[in-house]
Homo-oligomer: 298 residues x 2
Amino acid sequence: MPPKVALIGLDWGTTSLRGYLLGTGGEVLAKRSENFGILNIENGEFAAALRHLAADWLQTVTVPPIIASGMIGSRQGWWEVPYGDLPAGPEQLSPLCFDGFDYPIHMIPGLTFRNADGIPDVMRGEETQIAGMDADGVYLLPGSHSKWVLVADGRITWFATFMTGELFAALKDHTILGRMMVDGRDGDAFLRGVGVGHGTRAALQSLFSARTLALFDDIPVGGAASYLSGLLIGAEIAEARALLDKLPPKVTIIGAAELAKDYQTALSHCGLESMLAPHGIVARGHWRIARAAGLLAP
Amino acid sequence: MPPKVALIGLDWGTTSLRGYLLGTGGEVLAKRSENFGILNIENGEFAAALRHLAADWLQTVTVPPIIASGMIGSRQGWWEVPYGDLPAGPEQLSPLCFDGFDYPIHMIPGLTFRNADGIPDVMRGEETQIAGMDADGVYLLPGSHSKWVLVADGRITWFATFMTGELFAALKDHTILGRMMVDGRDGDAFLRGVGVGHGTRAALQSLFSARTLALFDDIPVGGAASYLSGLLIGAEIAEARALLDKLPPKVTIIGAAELAKDYQTALSHCGLESMLAPHGIVARGHWRIARAAGLLAP
């Protein structure tokens, strides 16, 4: 007898679509990934992409509830779901039902709030990863748009977005800083950048150091890109510390292995401990949000 | 009788070549400008460019001394002149004699120093503009690479480079921030950006506000670019204040009219007074440096 299926979870972002088939205990029975991110979908053919990914999952006698998180619910996605407010845990992240597909899709809202300066910030997708974690604390989700998230009493109470990855790419590929850069990683140059970025009183001013240090052979030619990466990550850590007033003893990193490792190295260089989140938290977040919303069969 | 000519001054940067013919009292007898910046010169044809600009100036019986400042003396220029050290005024900026042209060219060195964090900074060309000013104080030279310069006892004693203009272009044209931007200026959005950038504890983090404020219609669609420009300039002012510990009551701005005006507006919004430098200071700087170096006929 095949295992009983209880939920299809979709983690649908800008670059990829990941699908999870969850059993009645929330266990992952199967998972799949395609590069069907919303930026790769042409002419709004989201339905075709989903049918391709999940063909056999959708041809069973009883198709389980489908729940989706990520940029698929943005203005550029399939169906826009308004942002929810903080604080937010699985109970507050009630999905909205989209009926534009063969079966209903329960779209998890993103989150927004206004920070201490009155500036709005937004997330879409990360809230579901966080919902899959068990402990309160500070979470760091590095990437093009790195997020720092504070969780208290099981709910997100604060977050901040840093455009670190995208800023790095723009500086490297489209400013004078990139002229002296070659491919390759240099651990020493990375750490030097982390130290300068974390210690400076003037993060924007310090960007130029990625040129001058290379100009004076203070960092090797092959190290300029690693230095700049470290500089931006170090500055991100310093700013997150300033915004959070004080960090708890440990930061939990949620992210792809290599980038997570870089951040772990950087945090350690700044005197902060960190640990890596386990795999599979998105599916667990889907499960918890679906359960809180009463989508699972009793 | 034609006026007696004492000096040819060349202000030769990345985008343009400006030439000045100076009389025996240092007065400007003629000036010219061509888009013969070093980035526009192909195959190293600097000599041809100079002969084109100054043909008649070079065909007199007695060609006066020629002095040059700017990126022409960089590694990417005609002849590399090593950087000089701080403090530096006209007496320290002794030109080096380049003999690769029909007549000797006296190349003014750029400047370098290591800031309080041990990071080198560099300038090339701005030192000559500053040498044309009369008063001690803080000078601000806005642009792709904005410079803040401290002058004491007639010499440059400190400076800092901010990649503000280049950063703005890279963010606008090559990140998600540009997606919501249209052409046009919006004074209110600019000032809002100045306020946020100047007040934030987290300059890099605040970049994302250029997206979220537009997303929530907090700034009009037509204002996002002006907001980002203000944000970067406000952050630059805050960082310059932090680096300088305290600013003197007035900042003198050296730069093109429109950009100088934006900075003046921003400085005022941050509670700082400013004034615009007079025109013609480059030629005055050439004159003073030439005089200090003994290049002028007695």
